[in-house]
């Protein structure tokens, strides 16, 4: 027996010795490819962040890097909460909590189905810095070795500071400073016990305990953290109870989803295209953008209110818990007319729900919003004036290889003889159709492209009624060309890009190019002023926007898209609303929602606040322009028979003589005589340039 005991004793001793030797040998092998630890440890947060700034200098976003702060600027409650929750023996161990590790090993080995974690804060730091999230004993061993090295080299404050500055609390919330700002709009030093406990519970699962989405879970986790603090003696039970009862004021979720997220996406995409993702995420660029945070906030509010209202009208408010119900979406872009700088951009109802940027990616038919390009083309190529009379009446245009096109008016009625200005104000489709039929679709396409529409446009007759897809950014930019007497400024959203040392990499040059005749541009502006003051866009005035403005509504077939694009002399804004999937916008009574009803209110609400305090600037009138009052039916100065008058802008060479456009057989189409049936021209194929003799 004694011999057995002795043998057993020495066997255990030798086995233990061999194990130690084996572990040491293994250690020497593993050490070879163990990652090097940066020295000093603060180097881990030295990646310079790329920062994106608004035009006002306000920082909008930080990409990469860490907002590192010294431990002295972190709330003591938060430090205690993290230590109590993650590693309560942190201040005493040397990188590994042996008792906890043995317990975890026991549970893992002998209690099937249960896995117990035992990583100390130092081990978690090592894992986050160097290792993947693969679960293996070797990875765990390597992580433990690095933790031991970190503990040997740095003091506890350094380790805790590094840990707290790199830990993830959720997307765009890396490090405690970003997290405190993001969740509570506070600095890390300002966190109270309740907030500290809430945040300290997040790293376990930032998604599962996200207080914006799952407040109940987050509060349960907060209670666990507080209990741990009580158990470890950092706070008393009553303090914990008080903290748990303290109401939490989360930063507003719109703020959390960043000001101008759609805009920022656009900026980041540009940067990545230009410099590559590595430079954007690790290069420390300083990007000055054109966005005005005040206007952006107003735009987001106007769009949210407008879309909520539309959802109400259309009966598509998602039921609680049923977020899948399709709801109306929208986009708004505001561009400075004198430079092309994008001042505000909203790409949808809520960025957090869908990042699809409808302001630039969504190419939807503009409907009648496209008519100003058709009217400008008529002034330029046909020699028409705003007082030129055409006849609104049933119309058939033959299209080669396709069925005849019979444009109809929204009102399903015909107004007879009507001057161009009045026709645009009332958005009369048959007049726009006659204009494109005479000028040719290709000329209209050319005008739209000159103004700034970059989407591919089909040179067909129906283009006059906006049947080609365009984006709100294009519309806002193209209409700005009218506002500036025909000088086109390319839209841009990045003013300047600098490297981390402030050396300039890229600057935008504000360059205008004359693309339209100033007199004809002004005439179109004057006609569009009529739309806003007395025409299809009068909702803007009813909603209280009183500054000089011009614009045009747009509604497409079956009410799938509703637009309003308008401008003052300084700001051009385009609004689109509709469903993502091609579904009509109809109210609960089945009545279709037009641009004037769906989009114009969003435009008016935004512009009213955006232009608050601005002086009433008038559009610049070219020298060659004079204003005359005419009868909208005859195009001549009013007489005793005139029931209505309208002011038109005419160039020096134009007269309000009641020019009547004749049809192809030479008969007058307008005047006091009976309305003549329209003689369709010879058949033309879609996209063909039509050349015909005009009277």
């Amino acid at each position: 027996m004694i011999r057995f005991l002795r043998t057993f004793f020495y066997t255990v001793l030798i086995a233990g010795g061999l194990t130690v030797l084996g572990v040491m040998a293994f250690l020497f092998v593993v050490v070879q490819d163990l990652p090097r630890v940066p020295d000093p440890l603060s180097r881990i947060i030295e990646t310079p962040p790329t920062e994106i700034f608004a035009a006002t200098g306000e920082r909008l976003m930080v990409i990469g890097g860490r907002e590192a702060i010294p431990i002295s600027r972190i709330s003591k409650d938060f430090i205690n909460a993290v230590v109590a929750t993650e590693d309560h023996r942190f201040w005493g161990h040397h990188g590994v909590d042996k008792l906890r590790t043995l317990k975890a090993l026991w549970i893992t080995l002998f209690e099937p189905g249960r896995i117990q974690g035992a990583s100390t804060i130092t081990q978690q730091l090592a894992k986050n810095l160097f290792f993947s999230f693969e679960r293996s004993y070797l990875r765990k061993f390597r992580e433990m070795l690095v933790a031991l090295q970190i503990e040997s080299r740095y003091d506890k404050e350094d380790i805790l500071e590094a840990y707290l500055n790199q830990i993830a609390f959720g997307p765009r919330a890396h490090g405690i400073e970003q997290a405190a700002r993001s969740f509570f709009a506070k600095t890390a030093s300002e966190l109270n016990l309740a907030e500290a406990a809430m945040l300290a519970g997040l790293p376990k699962s930032p998604t599962r305990y996200n207080p914006y989405r799952h407040m109940d879970r987050a509060q349960k986790r907060q209670r666990i953290v507080l209990s741990r603090m009580v158990a470890t003696g950092y706070i008393t039970r009553s303090q914990a109870e008080d903290a748990f009862q303290t109401p939490l004021h989360l930063a507003s979720s719109s703020r959390k989803s960043r000001t101008g997220s759609y805009f920022l996406d656009m900026v980041i995409r540009h940067l990545e295209d230009q410099y590559g993702p590595d430079v954007v995420h690790h290069g420390g660029l300083k990007v000055a953008t054109t966005i005005d945070p005040h206007l952006q906030t107003l735009a987001e509010e106007a769009m949210t209110d407008g879309l909520d209202n539309l959802a109400e009208i259309t009966g598509t408010v998602p039921a609680p818990g049923n977020e899948e119900t399709p709801r109306p979406q929208g986009a708004l872009v505001a561009v400075a007319t004198q430079s092309g700088a994008v001042k505000a951009l909203v790409g949808g109802y809520r960025y957090a729900e869908t990042a699809y940027n409808r302001a630039i990616q969504n190419h939807r038919q503009a409907g009648s919003g496209f008519k100003p390009f058709t009217y400008y083309t008529a002034l330029e190529t046909l020699g028409f004036s705003p007082a030129t009379v055409l006849v609104d009446r049933p119309l058939t245009i033959a299209v080669r290889g396709a069925a005849d096109w019979q444009p109809r008016n929204f009102s399903r009625t015909f107004l007879g003889p009507i001057i161009l200005k009045k026709a645009l104000m009332q958005s009369v489709n048959t007049i726009a159709a006659q204009l494109i039929e005479r000028s040719g679709p290709a000329a209209v396409v050319q005008t739209a492209h000159r103004c700034g529409i970059e989407s591919s446009l089909q040179p067909v007759y129906s283009l006059a009624l906006g049947t080609s897809g365009v984006s709100p950014l294009e519309m806002a930019s193209a209409f700005a060309t009218f506002a500036t007497e025909g000088i086109r400024h390319r839209p841009f959203w990045i003013e300047r890009i600098e490297d981390a040392q402030g050396r300039i990499l890229e600057e935008h040059l504000v360059s205008g190019e004359r693309v339209l005749n100033p007199e004809w541009s002004y005439q179109v502006v004057d006609m569009m002023r009529g739309v806003v003051d007395h025409g299809s866009g009068a909702a803007v005035r009813r909603l209280g926007f009183s500054l000089p403005a011009a614009g045009k509504t747009g509604t497409t077939n079956s009410y799938k898209d509703a637009w309003f694009t308008g401008f003052t002399p300084t700001l051009s804004t385009s609004v689109w609303v509709g469903f993502d999937k091609e579904r009509p916008l109809r109210d609960r009574n089945g009545v279709g929602i037009t641009g004037g009803r769906g989009a114009a209110p969003v435009w008016a609400n935004f512009m009213k606040k955006a232009m608050e305090g601005e002086p009433a600037r008038e559009f610049k009138v070219p020298e060659d322009i004079r204003l005359e009052i005419v009868d909208p039916q005859t195009g001549r100065p009013p007489d005793d028979l005139s029931r209505e008058t309208i002011t038109v802008a005419l160039t020096a060479s134009q007269t309000a003589s009641g020019t009547v456009i004749e049809n192809h057989s030479g008969e007058p189409l307008a005047g006091s005589g009976p309305v003549q049936p329209f003689q369709p021209p010879p058949a033309h194929g879609a996209g063909e340039i039509i050349e015909e003799d005009l009277p």
Binding site: L5, L13, L129, S152, D278, H281, A500, V510
Partner: protein
């Protein structure tokens, strides 16, 4: 049956088990374990050992990869900035438009100050300067007191010049053709052509000997202003066969063409002379009774 060597009593057991050696060993081991639990000496030894090997270990892992990316990004940006600065330095040190044009012909954008532009503009031969931008237009831009910099952007063989204010707003834009760029860069060079193919000279083409007789008949001042840089003609091999004078006056200059024949090849060198001087030469040419216009 028990061996006779086995202890017979409990005391014998104790005496046999607790001998000095195993007890010392157990005590020693216990001490080691307790000391480890209390003082973490094993962790400290391993940690310190790892610190000594740190600098020989690979820079691997997420944080280093991020560091490498940061370094790559830094190098990319450094190259962009260095290249830009080199070009700007080159532009700043440019003594004449030829040097600027050489940079542009490498497809590189550059910015120079307004003062530097004026200095380079003044260095250009007057007729080329006037063709680039009328001196009156330049005076107007200068007098508006907004102009800060000129940005040169290569485009389609030529280049654009943007006159910028401090806010990067374009005050004026010029487009300079590839041909003009070549003339700035290399001076006037003969082109393979004949005067008859150049429409600006139709109806005003003269035999060279008559042109030079007329040139001799005018004063030295008229000769210098009418035909500046005659050395360009001397540099070109071959003989001048015909001379033509344009009808158009451009910013105070009139273009002239000298047709040179050499070994069966015909080339044309273009000049711009001051309008009043060229007009004087032309009046002498056309006033000579024995001369008449030659139409080919």
């Amino acid at each position: 049956m028990d061996s006779w060597t086995n202890p017979q009593t409990f005391n014998d057991w104790l005496k046999r088990v607790f001998t000095l050696r195993p007890v010392a060993l157990v005590l020693l081991l216990s001490l080691a374990v307790i000391a480890e639990l209390r003082f973490d000496w094993a962790e400290q030894i391993i940690g310190r050992y790892l610190v000594t090997t740190n600098q020989f270990r690979p820079e691997s892992g997420a944080i280093w990869e991020k560091g490498h990316r940061t370094e790559d990004a830094r190098q990319i940006l450094e190259k962009i900035v260095t290249d830009k600065q080199a070009v700007q330095r080159e532009a700043r040190e440019a003594q004449n438009f030829t040097q600027v044009a050489q940079t542009l012909s490498r497809g590189i954008e550059l910015i120079i100050s307004a003062d530097h532009f004026r200095q380079l503009y003044n260095e250009l031969p007057p007729e080329l300067a006037a063709e680039l931008l009328s001196p009156y237009a330049l005076v107007r831009i200068v007098s508006e007191n907004e102009w800060d910099r000129a940005f040169f952007e290569p485009e389609a063989g030529g280049f654009n010049i943007y006159f910028l204010n401090k806010d990067n707003r374009v005050l004026k834009q010029l487009t300079v053709s590839g041909d003009m760029l070549a003339r700035i860069e290399h001076g006037e060079t003969p082109r393979a052509d004949t005067l008859g193919n150049l429409p600006q000279f139709a109806n005003r083409i003269y035999p060279a000997d008559r042109f030079f007789r007329a040139l001799e008949a005018v004063s030295e001042d008229v000769r210098r202003q009418g035909v500046p840089w005659p050395e360009n003609l001397l540099k070109s091999p071959g003989r001048v066969a015909r001379v033509a004078i344009s009808d158009e006056v451009l910013s105070g200059y009139i273009e002239m063409g000298f047709e040179i024949q050499e070994a069966g090849r015909t080339r044309v060198i273009l000049f711009q002379g001051r309008d009043w001087a060229v007009a004087r030469i032309r009046s002498v040419l056309e006033g000579e009774t024995f001369e008449k216009q030659i139409t080919f």
